[in-house]
Every structure is written in structure tokens, then in C-alpha cells.
Symmetry: C7
Subunit: 255 residues, 7 copies
């Protein structure tokens, strides 16, 4: 009780440190990320895979409307987890930065550069008053000078580079799955399989139709490509992740 | 009691996350939406139907004054549910964006584009301090490159695309009704019937005169058209939704 | 007690939703409207009638100083109820909008257009921080393309169109009186009588001298005209609303 | 106790309505007015009389320094009651508006026009945050097109027109005195007498030397004139209001 | 206890009225004035005397560093009591206004004009949020058209004109002393004596060396002159105010 | 309990002193620094060594992504401890200042100059409202006119110059280790060894692979150089700090 | 308890007077000054001495990095006590003002002029909201027209001129020491000795090596000169203030 009352004193102010040096609003924004369904990134020598769990809600909702993977530039894709409307703001910001870079320097923006511009933007919302932090985490994947790169941004505005990573719900389990199954010499196809199997691992090893989005940025083409439903179905079948029978649960979207 | 007191601590600040990652003000704005009478959107291959429940209040009030369906552009209609004065702000915003698009690019704005400009505007009111969120949900329907599109915006600023959807009061029941009765091959006429039957389903399967507004955006004409009372009466009769006898209840408008 | 304490948590912040989706400050501003004496609007095919209850206060106060009916443009009148100083702000706003319309488009402003510009202005004060809502309701009546129109604005910024309507004190009773006695084919004279009888209905069916203001906007002349005391006395006599004997109560003005 | 605690919740915020639609800060500003000594205005067909009670404080204070009647323009005088420093701000505002009117239109400002510009200014301080209301009431008297006019402004920003009126301490008693003794056909001299007798009525029917300021704006000359001490003494003697013996009380000024 | 708790509710907000119409922050600023040692002004037909009690603190502090009398313009002096740093702000303001007047109109500023510009400046800090009132009172003395004038400003921003006045500590006693001993026909020398005797009256009728500052603005020369220590000693001797023996108390300065 | 409640009263406001003259938010920001893993700086006559503890987290995270040592200019390196996103802001600030100096003066910025520009920037965030302090400490090392310099910045904005210093976790122990083992005549190689041994001293005298970053700024070359993993391994081996067996703990990053 | 609770009500608001006319935040800033080690100023006919106690902290910290005496202009030095980062802001401000004066008037700034510009700057932070007061006191010493001057600024923004003064820890004892031992005819050398003996008086009459900074501004050269360690050692020896044996305590710096 004591501890609780004391905590309350510090977590209401947006930009205030607690006595033990924590920023509670940023930690609560991390909870908002956990409330969103998972997105997964896998980096292979052949390119980057982004996959997003988007379990069906209402059969009347257009599956494409639950966007969790976005093209930021020809050679960069971004997957999100958490507060959807916040994600849209950051993705718009990333797109603008990508365009500005092309206009100003006549060349595509680097993946690390873009990531850091995004995290700087996020950090401002954790230090200056008058706004709340962004309740979303992003995976930024792309090709830079022929090399696949995969970054994560969190609500504090810290950038991390990964070989394979999960954001959103069940991060603990998913990250464990990735650590066990990741190999440095995965093909892009194997990377897609790994991502799908990870997502299925939290759902009885099944993925329903339209239940995931998958995109790749190949090192060869340096192009962001979203897989269509048939391609995804092939990968699901190949990895034996088809649902057995029941398929009708309707989840509320995280907000 | 405990939990309640704790919740109070977080829901008073507009732009603050709760410890479990929720934005209470946005959730309360969703309650404001539920306080409004329902609006329904149905997408058919022949066009989009927007229908709004506007049960009579005082017999002296002009029924047309309870506007819930608005023309945003020649090819786009918007239906609202929730705080009426907030809806008017967003619809004005949508109209301005539509005009700007025509001026700047010489062509009608896309339905998805418009929806996202509206949701970006809504999101700002949930992150930056000094204002409250919008207490209203919108259905944005129209024709884009010959194809009917139907979107929903919610108070968090998230866009969703639907085949058929309900906003406002009784969303749970209405959405269930739509899921049971929607077919992908509905004609526009059948779409109007479905929308009216849905609205009637929460009112003893009856619709009083002047109790609904209906508008369509046909894929053929690409034009927003509001049905007049006679046309609506015909559809009500056709669908056997005429009220039996009593007709006099007076509801207070949601504010 | 519980409920009360909880309510207090939400009604102190100007622009904050309560858990059930209400804006308490707007609802309290509606109470400020109810504290003002009533104003009544009646729309007839021949024109619009505005009448305002202004029971005498001190015999030394100039009756004309308790302005509740104002000319907004040649063809538009506005009656108010509630916080007098707030009403003056909105009426000045309406006059400026009317003038701007004439300057910009070379024609008189439409009644609906003007009403919506006023309600948009009111809405801003309910969403953006740093100010309180307007504690006043308005009746905006006028002639548009030869047709009489009568609108109400409330503190939330919602516009309503009416055949006959009352704002301010005793709205429940007065609206009931109007619903019982309104006919669609009233002459302008009969409309004045209806308005006076409605006001008298809450005061032992009597109206003291100088106790009401009456103005009309005739469809024929399209001109706002304030009745002088003799004319009003004639209508009072005609409708048998003269006070019997005692006449001396002094009310405090609502602020 | 309950009611008191609840009231406290609403009266601390400057621009917030209470649940019953009141603005407590404005009502408290009215209390500041009551803390000031009274000022009185009397309108006669021959002109307007302004009189102010300024009972002596310290014998060392210059009586002229307790200004309560001010010239706003050649044809307009203003008397105040309440917070002295606030009064000075409003009177400066009125003088600037008077000058602007002469510069812009080449003619003296109307009394009603000036009053409404002042009350609009006052209203802003009751609606927009970041400042408190003005704790002062004014009497604005003058000649407009040959006709004497007398207005009151209160802390809410409402203008009232009066034949005779009192602001400040003892308003209830003084207004009663004026209602009993006012006649529509008073001469300007009789108006001065009425004002002095009213002030004396709350002080054993006596007025000490230097205890009142009196000014007139005559309909004939259209000029604001302050009476000198000898003239005032004559009126005091004429109305038999000389103090009998003791004369030495020292009041603290209201602030 | 009750009353105390209630008072606390109102005195924390800078610009808020209490239910009885008081501005507590202004009243507390008056307390800051009382915490400062006294300053005295005496107006005689031959000129104005300003005297300030500056009892010694540390023997190592330069007596001239405890400035309480300042030259504002050639013909104007200002004495202060209260918060020293605040006094410096207002005196700088007064000096700037004096210079502006000379530049703009080519003539020295009037004493009343200057006083009112200062009090308007003070008033702003009591009405507009974001700052506290000035915790200082001033005596502004000078010659205007050959006539000596003496004004006081208080923390509310009210100007008072005086023949003789005291600000700061012991005002009650000092003002009583002045009322008993002031004569309208004092010479400037006698005025200096009166001021010194007043200051001494609260200190066993003694003034230690360097314990007072004295300045005069003579009607003849229209020049502000600060007396040097020898001159002051002569006046002290002449008025028999030399300290008897002990001389060593060290007071803390008021801040 | 008493003391605790009292402390709470002062530590919530960002820019407020407590009664004993402390700024709690700054002290809590120091706690945020302690939550980060340690960074160490060692100054030798041959140059400056910066070393940072970055114990492995997930095997899938790119070790290079946990940046704790940054190049600020050719001749300046910066190591950080604490809130990572805050560190990035300050390092960007330092880089901009370095560039501005080169542009403006055509020469590299001095180490002390840069440090003070950074600490001035930090101080602003502790005095002016609307933001929180930076939750990070920096070590700024470089060569100025041939001489190695090593500075620390803390969250209050105070600069300190050191021969050898530790920031972040375990500062007490690490600083003790440095004081015991530092010699003024260390070679750069010995400085690297000292830094590594210090870091290992809090971890059973072991450093896992990829567990530290090391950079040097040599007095001879005046160039910031980051050691690659092989070089670091050599130093680890040379100092006998290889881990014995277990190597797999995964720490959560400090935020 | 009562009094304590009441005090808390007033000391949290930055710019608010307490009921007894005190500004608690300013008083708490004075406590921040007392938390800093002492600085001492001594004015002699031959010049001004500034001395600062900077007892050693860590043997690895550069003694020069604990700057407490700064050159503001060729002829002006400033010593500080209290919050180090705040001191740096004020000293930068003083340097800028000195430069501006040289540029604008082509001559060195006066000591009093500079002091008052600094105190005006400090005062603003005590009256206007949005920032806290400066938690530092300064000694400003220099030569003006050949005459040594020594000023103190405190957190309220009040300037004091002194012959000899101490700021920071132990002010009471140190000021007593100075009062007992100061003579008006000290040579500059004797002034240095007095300052050192004062500092030693609170530390068993010993000063460790590097434990003080000393600077002089000689009336002859009009130049600020910092003594080097050898010179200081000579003065320490001359005044028999060498430490006997133990020398190793490590104090935490005041922040």
C-alpha cells in the first residue's frame, strides 16, 4: 500500500523522474505496446522479413484495414505494435524524413539514420511537457549499401539493432522462440518461415487465413514487397501452420 | 474501491497513460459515441449505403435539423454518431481537405486518403495537451476509382475499413445483426434494406416516419444522394418495418 | 455520496470527458441557461416571432436595458437566455459574420449558415482549454429565400431547427405548452399571441407592462421589427393576459 | 458543511461553471464591489448626476486623491465602486475608446456604445483563463444627442441602463431610498440633492466636509463638470445634511 | 479552524477573489511591506522631504548599499519599504517612464502622471496570471509646476496623495505621530525634523549614525538632493535624537 | 513517515527548491544515471581512454546497437551512463556545437568549451519549467592543444574535470578502485587496462566478449579511435579478465 | 504541526507570498547557498580579495575543475557559493553584460552597474512564473575609477555593498570572524591573510593544499589575478594555517 501510494505520486506527471530514477509514463507507454498484437522482424543475409499478427476481428472488417506493416521508402518497411493511431504518426514522420533525404542528398536514406531521426522525435515527447509519449514500438527494416538492417524503436526513444526481434504481446515467449530457432545463415524464405512459426507459437501453432501480414526487403532487389494472401498461404502450408477447424474468434483491436 | 480510486488517478489527465497502457480520456470519448444513436454503413458492389437512426424528439423540431449524414464531396458521404458539435468540426475538416485536394491535384480525393487525414487530425487531440479528444465516430463512404469504399474513424484516430459497420448505441447487437445478414453480392437496394432492418432491430423491428436518414453513393454515378422521405417510406414498407401504433416517445438528444 | 465524489472528479476540468462520456462543464453551462428568464421563438408561414420574458426588476431600471432580443442583420433577429454578458459576445460575433457575408458575397447571410458559424464558435470553447463554455442559448430567426427559419444554439455548440421552441427557465413546461398549441398554419399575429400566452402560462397567465419584448421577421418584408410597447399591450389585451392587480415583484437578474 | 465543501470545488477555478450554472469568481468580484463605499447616479431631464461617498480616512490624506469620479470624455463621466486599482484600468480603457471614436469617426462616442465596449472588455476577463475578473462596478453617465443617459457595468460584464442607481456598499438600502424618492421630472439641482440625501441616509443623514464628490453632465452644455467644495457645501446645507458634532472617524480604504 | 482552512483555499491562487471579495495575495504583499523598515514622506510648502530608516546591520556593510531613497528624475525622488529587489524593479520602471516623457514631450514628467504609470504597472501584476504582486510600497515626491506633491503606491496598485505619510514597519504608530505633529505651514527644515522625530519615535527617540537617509526636493530649486551624513547629524542634534550609549544591535535586512 | 510525506511535497515540482535547498528532480535524475551500466574515463599523458560496460542482453541484439561511446568530433569522444535516449540528445547537441565551432572559428572546439556548452544546456532543463532534467551523465574526453582532457557532466549541469572517473552503476566501488590503482604516468595501454580491470572488478573480475566498448583519443594523433573486438580481446587477455565458463545471463537494458 | 502544514501551503508555489509576506522559494534558495562551501571577499584600500573554500573531494578530480572564482572582465572577479550550475549561468550573464558595456560605451563596466544588472536578472526569476530562483549567491569585486568595490548578490536579487563578507556555509561564524578582525587600513597582502584565516577558522585553523582559490583585483593594476598554488602556499605558511597531519577526507560536492 505504502509503495503503491508513493508510486502514484510520480506516475501522473508526464516528464518527472521518480525517486529511483524512473519515468513512469514511458513505462506505461511500454504497456500500451504490450497490449497490441505482436510484430516480428527477422534479418537474414538475403534480406529482412517483417511479419505482423493481425488475428481477425469481425468478418466484416477488411483485413487490409488493420495495417501493421507499412512501406516507408522503396527500400524500407516498418512494422508496428501498440497504439495504432500513434503508429500512423510515426510512420508518416518516417516517410517525410525519407523523402526529405532523397530531395536533399539525392540518395535513399540509411536505415540507421532514419531510425535515429525517429527515436529523436520519440524522445522529445518524453522530456518536454504538454504531450504524452508515443504508445507504440516500431521495427524498421531495410537495405543499406546492400546490407540488410533491422532496428527497433521503443517508447523511450532508444534505438536497438537486432538479428531477429519481436514487439508487442508475448514478447518474452516470442523472443525466446527466436533465440532458439534463429540461425545466421537463414535464407529469406527460411526467415519468413521462422517469423510465421514464431507468431503461430503463441496460437497453438496455427495461423488463420488473413491472420498475418508479411513483407520482405530483399538485399538483391533492395525493394519493399508485401506478400499477397496466396503467397502467405503457401508459406503457412509449407510450415504446417494451417488452422485445424474452429476459426471464428473475434478479438477487439488494441487501441 | 481500491481499483476505482486508482483509476481516477489516471483518467483525469488528458494525455496520460495508465499503468496498464490505456488512455482513459480516449476510452471515455468512446462512451460519448455510445451515447449517440446509431449510424450504419453498408458497402455493396453497387455502392455504399449510409443510414442514421434519428428517432423523433419533439414534434416541433425540424427532423432535418438532426443532421447525422453529410455530403463531404460529390462522391463522399459521412455519417456520425456521438457528440453532435464535435461531428460538425470533423465534417468541416473533411470538406476542407476534399476541396484542397481538388484545388491542388485537380481530382477528387481518395476515400482512404481523406479518412487518414481525418484520423491524423483526431489523433493530435489525443496526444498533445490543451484540448480533449473528439467525442464522435464517423463513417466515411464513397467511390474511389469506381470501387465503393467504407471507412470508420474512432476517437483514438484509428481508421478501419469495413464491408458493413455500425457506430453509436447498441453497436454490439447491430454489428451482430450485420454479420448475420450481410452478403458480398448485395444490390444497393438490398444494402438499404439491410441498413434499415438493422436499425429497426433495436426498436421492435419498426422505424417511425422521419426516424431515419439514408444516403447512397452509387458506384455508377459516383454521386452522393440523400433519399427523400417518400423513398425512405417505400423502403420501410418493402422491408415491413412500419410502426404498428404508438409513435410518440420523445428522446433527449445526446450531446 | 460515492457517486457525488466521483462526479466531482470530472466536472472541474473544462475539457474532459467523464467515464460515461459526458462533458460536465457543458452541462453546467446548460444550467446557466436555465437560470435566465425564458425566450420563445415561433415560426409561422408568414414569418418568425421572437419573444422574451423580461419581468421588471427595479422600477428605476430602464426596461430597454434588459436586452434579450437583438437585430443581427436586416433579416435576422436573435433572442437569448442565460448569462447576459456571454450572449452579447455571441451576438456581436453573429453581427460580424453577417457583415462579412455581405461584403464577401454581396448578399445577405443564410439563417442556417449563420447559425452554424455561431455553433462552430461555441464548440471551440468546449474542446480547447483555457476558457469556459458560453453560458447562453440563442434563438436565431430570419427569412432565407422567402422562407422563415428558426434555429436554436445550445452551450455544446449544436444547432437545432424548430417550428416553435423555448429556451431558458421552465423549458419543460413551455415546450409542452407550445407542442399543445402550435399549428402549422398560424398567422404571424397568431404566432405573437402563442408566444405571449406561453410566457404568461408560467406566470398565472398574466404579463405585466414592459414585461416582454417581441420582435418579428416577416416573410413579406424580410425585415426585423421590434414591437413598441403599445403594440405589445394590444396583443396582451387581445389575448387576455393583463395582470389583475399586484404588479410589484422585483426579481434579481440572472447573471 | 457538505454544501460548503462542494462549493469550494467550483469557486477556485476562474472560468468554470458550478453544477447550478454559476460563476463563483464573478460573484466574489461582486463582493469586492460591495466592500467599496457607495457611488450614486441620478438621471434627470436636465442631465446626469454622479455622486461618490468618500468618507475621510486620515486627515493627512489629500481628499482629491481618493478619486471615485472621473472624466472619460467632454460629455461623459464615470463613477466607480470597489477595487480602486481595477477601476483605474477600466477608466483608462474607457478614455482610450472615447479618443479612438473621435479620431475614427470625428464625433463624440455614444454613452451606450462606450458602455458596451467596456462591458465586452470586462466579459473577456470572466471567460478566458489566465486572469481574474475586474472587482469593480462603474456608473457611466453622459449626454447622447442631447439626451441624458446613465449606465451601470457589473463584474460579469452586463450593462444596465438606469434612471437612478447605486453601486457599492449598502446597495440594498440605497436603491430603496432612490426608488422611494426619485421623480421623472427632477431638476438637475434636485438630482444632486437626491444623490446627497441618499448617501447621507446610510450615515445618520449627515455628510462631513470633503466626504463626497459630485459631478454633473448637463444636457444643455453637454459638459462634464466637477463641483468644488463650496458648491457641494451649499448643496449639503440646502438639504440639511451638515454633520452635528463628531467628525473624526478614520476608515480604512477598501482595496 | 474552519475559517482558516477556508481562507487557505483562496489565498494560494494569485489572481483569485475570495468569497468576501478579497485578493489575499495582494494582502500578503502588504505584509511584505510591513516587514521592511519604515520610510516617511512630508510635504511642506517649501518642498518634499523623504526619509528612510536604515538601522545598521553589520558594521562591515556599506551603509550606502542599503538604498531606500532613489532619484527618479531631476525633480523626483522615490522612497521604498518592503521587498528590496522588487523596489529596484519599480524604481527602474519609474526612471524609464521619466526619460520617455522627456524624450517624447520635451518636459519633465508630472508627479501624478508618474505615480499613475507606476500604479498601473503594479495593478497588472495583481490581475494577470503568471506572476506575483510587487511586495513593496513607494513614496513618490517631487515638484510639479512649482508645487510640492507627495504620493504613495501600495501593492494593489492604488495611488494616494498625502501631506505626510509613512510606509513599512510601525505604520500605525508613525501615522499617528505624523497626524499629531504635522502643520500645513512647516518649513522644509521643520519637515526634515518632523520626519526624523517620527522615525526616532519607534526607537526610544534616538537615531544612530548612518541610521537614516534623508532627501529633499525643494520647490525653489526643483532639484532632488540627498543630505550627506554631516547634514543629517546636524538635524539629529538639532532635534535631540542622538543615541545615548549602546549602538550595536544588528538587524537582519527584510527581504 | 513525517519526513517522507514532507519530501513528497517538494519532489514533484520540477523546478522547486525544498526547504533545505535541494532540487529533488535533479537528485532523482542522478538515480536514473545510477540505473545505467558504468562508463569509465582514464586520462594518461598519452591520451584519454573511454570504456563502457555493455553486458550482453539478448544474443540476437547487435552489440554495436547498444552504443555508449560516441565520436563527437575528430578529437573528442563521449561516453554516457543512464537514460539512453537522453544521452543521444546531448551527444547530438555536442556534435552540433563542435561543427558550429569549426565553421565559426575555423578550428576544433576546446574540450572545456564543449563541456561547458553542454552543461549550460543541461542546467536550463533544471531551472525553467515545462521539461524534466536529462537523466544521463557524460564523460567528455579529448585532446586540447596537445593535452589530454577528461570531463564529467552530471544532471545538475555541473562540469567536473578528472584524471580518472566512473559514471553509472557502482560508482562508489569503481571510483575507489580507480583511486587505488591510478598513476599519473600511465601509458595509454595501461590506461585501457585500468579501465577494463575497473569494469571487471564489479563482475568477478571477468569481461565477456562484446561486453565492453573501448575508445581512445591519443595525444599524438589527436584522433578518436574505437577499438575493434579483437583489440579488446587482446587487452582482456593481457589483463586476465576472460570469463571462466558461464556466459549467458541476459540483462534488461536500463532505460 | 499546524504551523508546518500551513507553511507547506505557501512554499510550493514559486511566486506566491505567504500570509506573513514571505517568499518561501527564495528562502529555500538561500538554503541552497548555505549548502555550498564558503567564499569570502575582503576589500582593502589596495584592492579586493576573493577567496573560496574548495576542500578536496576525490584525489582524482582536478582541483581547478571546482571553479568558484571567475574572471568577469579584466577588472572584475566573481566568487560564488551554492548551486554550481546556477552560478555558471549568472557568471556568463555577467560576462556578457561586461562585454556589451565595452562595445556600447567603449569603457569598462562599473562594479555597481554590473551588480545591479545581475540582481535585476535574479529578481525576475523570483517574480515571474515558469522557473525557480537561482540557488546561488555571488561576490562581485573590482576596481571602479581606481576605487575597490565589493558587492554581494543574494537569491532574492538584492545587492549589498561590503567591506568584508562571507557567503555560503557557516556564514554566521565567518561574518563574526571578519567583523572582529577587519581593519580599514589592511594591505592587499593582509586582506589575503584575513580571508585565508577566516576560511581556516571553520576547519581547525588549517587549509589543506589545493583547498582554496584566491584571486585579487589590485587598485593599482586594475587587473584580476588568480594566485597560483605556490603563492597560496606561501600565504598559508605565512599565516600558519598548514594542516598538521591527516588530509584525506573526501566531501561530496554541493550541487
Amino acid at each position: 500500500m505504502q509503495g503503491q501510494a508513493q508510486q502514484q505520486a510520480y506516475d501522473r506527471g508526464i516528464t518527472i523522474f521518480s525517486p529511483d530514477g524512473r519515468l513512469y509514463q514511458v513505462e506505461y507507454a511500454r504497456e500500451a505496446v504490450k497490449r497490441g498484437t505482436a510484430s516480428i522482424g527477422v534479418r537474414t543475409p538475403e534480406g529482412v522479413v517483417l511479419a505482423a499478427d493481425k488475428r481477425s476481428r469481425s468478418p466484416l472488417m477488411e483485413p487490409t484495414s488493420v495495417e501493421k506493416i507499412h512501406k516507408s521508402d522503396d527500400h524500407i518497411g516498418i512494422a508496428s505494435a501498440g497504439h495504432v493511431a500513434d503508429a500512423r504518426q510515426l510512420i508518416d514522420f518516417a516517410r517525410r524524413q525519407s523523402q526529405v533525404n532523397r530531395l536533399r542528398y539525392g540518395e535513399p536514406i540509411g536505415i540507421e539514420t532514419l531510425t535515429k531521426e525517429v527515436t529523436d522525435h520519440i524522445q522529445q515527447y518524453t522530456q518536454v511537457g504538454g504531450a504524452r509519449p508515443f504508445g507504440v514500438a516500431l521495427l524498421i527494416g531495410g537495405i543499406e549499401n546492400g546490407t540488410p538492417r533491422l532496428y527497433e524503436t521503443d517508447p523511450s526513444g532508444t534505438p536497438y539493432e537486432w538479428k531477429a526481434v519481436s514487439i508487442g504481446a508475448d514478447r518474452g515467449d516470442l523472443q525466446g522462440f527466436l533465440e532458439e530457432n534463429y540461425r545466421d545463415d537463414l535464407t529469406l524464405d527460411e526467415g519468413i518461415g521462422l517469423a510465421l512459426r514464431a507468431i503461430a507459437s503463441t496460437n497453438d501453432d496455427e495461423i488463420e487465413e488473413g491472420g498475418v501480414d508479411v513483407a520482405t526487403i530483399s538485399a538483391e532487389t533492395e525493394a519493399f514487397v508485401e506478400l499477397d494472401n496466396d503467397e502467405i498461404s503457401d508459406y503457412i502450408a509449407e510450415n504446417e501452420l494451417e488452422p485445424s477447424e474452429e476459426d471464428d474468434e473475434t478479438d477487439e483491436p488494441a487501441e
